[in-house]
């Protein structure tokens, strides 16, 4: 695949929704250990709502309209911390892709970088705070470094995100609910970093198919 169009993006969202659903219990368990145990349920609910929204057929208009629909739906269904963060992420993707109908590898990397910036602005988390930012920062770096075709770019992003998500375990949380635990947050992976890795992994699968 050379360019991602809305059609492929819809497949990504389907794939992502399925993967989130399959890993819902895992995400909840991760969240139960250092948060309040709802991250899997929140994400599953949100992506199910997005699927429902997209059922009717393609979103009229450009990729901007498509991502905005996703962002608004996540915003009004996920709740918790993840709702505004992922919702805002997709809204930002929408803003930055207004007028475009397809994306190549490098422009996808730039787009996701913009989405990440929105998450950082909203949540004020930095790498090392044990949040989804920990997965997304190295993912964006890897995607930009990989350059080239969509498959390579997304695979680099997915691998970096997964590794970084795993590496959140030894960190002490400084943002989100896990921060209340202080030192007791050490030794558990961050749920949001894991859901971010799942999203990027499903994207890589679509782009490599």
């Amino acid at each position: 695949m050379q360019e991602l169009t809305q059609a492929e993006m819809r497949v990504w969202i389907w794939e992502a929704a399925a993967v989130i659903d399959k890993n819902s219990a895992l995400l909840c368990d991760l969240d139960a250990a250092i948060g309040d145990g709802d991250h899997g349920a929140n994400m599953t609910r949100g992506f199910a709502a997005v699927l429902k929204k997209l059922e009717g057929g393609a979103v009229a208009g450009d990729l901007g309209a498509f991502f905005k629909t996703i962002g608004m739906t996540l915003l009004s269904t996920v709740g918790g911390a993840a709702g505004p963060l992922y919702g805002g992420f997709f809204l930002e993707l929408g803003k930055q892709s207004a007028g475009r109908t397809s994306l190549d590898g490098p422009s996808l990397a730039v787009l996701i970088e913009a989405g990440l910036a929105d998450i950082k602005r909203r949540g004020k988390a930095e790498p090392g705070d044990k949040t989804m930012v920990d997965a997304l920062v190295p993912a964006v770096e890897a995607m930009k470094a990989a350059g080239g075709d969509l498959a390579a770019v997304t695979r680099a992003g997915a691998e970096a995100a997964r590794l970084a998500a795993t590496n959140t375990a030894p960190l002490q949380a400084r943002k989100g609910r896990a921060s209340y635990l202080g030192e007791r947050s050490i030794g558990h992976q961050d749920p949001g970093a894991n859901s971010a890795a799942l999203l990027l992994e499903s994207l890589a699968r679509i782009c490599s198919a």
């Binding site: 909840c28 139960a32 250092i34 948060g35 309040d36 145990g37 709802d38 349920a41 929140n42 609910r45 915003l75 009004s76 269904t77 996920v78 709740g79 918790g80 911390a81 993840a82 709702g83 505004p84 963060l85 909203r122 949540g123 400084r174 943002k175 989100g176 609910r177 921060s179 209340y180 635990l181 202080g182 007791r184």
Partner: protein, 333 residues
């Protein structure tokens, strides 16, 4: 998991159906999106007070909607903050033209969702102010973290600001009063048992028969430390000492003392805790001028207690005493 529910997905909707049936005289429940509003809202010229948060803390917040307290409450899924569309619709429904005050417990999710709602309201030219509660001394306060959690003080905040709004105070005045209360109240909690979030189906943490969790919040999250089971008096001291030294409360001050049950702890035990809490407060030179004993901000069926102390001058006491008519708190009317 042993609960009186039908399915984890329907817990909040069915609870709201029950609330709508039980309190049809005073409350109106909107199902799309979810919010609970005063039946007689909006009150023209009165600041509209809204709050909200994850469900599972009942009677907070929906049980505190009514005359002299909240105008509307937005329930999220269990332990999950509600979404901006809920606050947006609720605020519009109770907007009496004098602005909207949002009372928000300091959790990343709640803060971000209420912020988004405030942005949406401002786009509609509705004035909005927000007061945070972050009274939990179990969490170290720091600029570099999410800060402290909002817990028991939220109940007192909603009562006192509700009375202020009822009296006709302006948005700015209520916001200032809210900040003053925020600066004057502290809380801490502990759990004897964990709770089980319906969709999770298993307890949020495990405790042995002789263990307690100290410094818990209200979301079934583990606390700051695990301790050996102790007597009610010892546990009360474990909570009171950090509360009193954090602010610190000074000898001679008057306080409202609130002993809260986490949902699975019966009243008989709360009175035993209250007794000791008063003794400690008095030893500290404090005067307990008002009190509240009961389960008002809960964590599902968790057994345990939290204690909140709030400095209370005559203004605060006057607002505390003002009439309130909600399912969860009622007096003077």
């Amino acid at each position: 998991m042993k609960k009186l529910i039908n399915s984890p997905e329907n817990v909040v909707r069915e609870e709201l159906e029950g609330i709508a049936l039980a309190h049809a005289d005073r409350l109106r429940v909107c199902f799309d999106p979810f919010y609970i509003a005063r039946k007689d809202a909006p009150t023209k010229g009165k600041v509209g007070l809204i709050s909200g948060g994850g469900s599972g803390h009942e009677p907070l917040h929906g049980g505190f909607v009514g005359l002299g307290m909240l105008d509307a409450a937005c329930p999220g899924h269990v332990f999950t903050s509600p979404t901006p569309d809920q606050m947006f619709e609720a605020a519009k429904a109770v907007n009496g033209g004098a602005g909207i005050l949002q009372i928000v417990k300091n959790y990343t999710g709640d803060v971000m969702n209420f912020d988004l709602a405030a942005d949406m309201l401002r786009e509609e030219s509705i004035e909005v102010a927000t007061v945070l509660t972050d009274d939990d001394v179990a969490v170290q306060d720091s600029l570099y973290t999410a800060g402290r959690r909002g817990v028991g003080l939220t109940v007192l905040m909603e009562k006192i600001l509700g009375a202020a709004a009822e009296k006709g105070m302006s948005l700015g005045q209520i916001k200032d009063l809210g900040e003053a209360i925020r600066a004057s109240g502290r809380s801490m909690g502990m759990a004897l048992t964990p709770c089980t979030v319906p969709h999770l189906g298993k307890p949020s943490f495990e405790l042995k028969e002789d263990e307690i969790e100290v410094g818990i919040g209200i979301h079934g999250e583990p606390g700051r430390r695990r301790a050996a089971l102790a007597s009610a008096d010892e546990i009360t001291a474990m909570l009171m000492e950090p509360i009193l030294t954090d602010l610190p409360f000074k000898s001679g001050e008057s306080i409202i003392l609130f002993v809260n049950g986490m949902g699975g702890t019966p009243l008989i035990e709360l009175y035993i805790v209250f007794r000791k809490a008063v003794q400690i407060a008095e030893k500290h030179g404090l005067k307990v001028v008002r009190n509240l004993v009961g389960s008002y901000i809960t964590s599902l069926e968790m057994a345990g207690t939290s204690i909140t102390a709030l400095r209370a001058d005559d203004t605060v006491v006057g607002l505390w005493d003002a009439p309130v008519n909600t399912p969860g708190l009622r007096w003077g009317v």
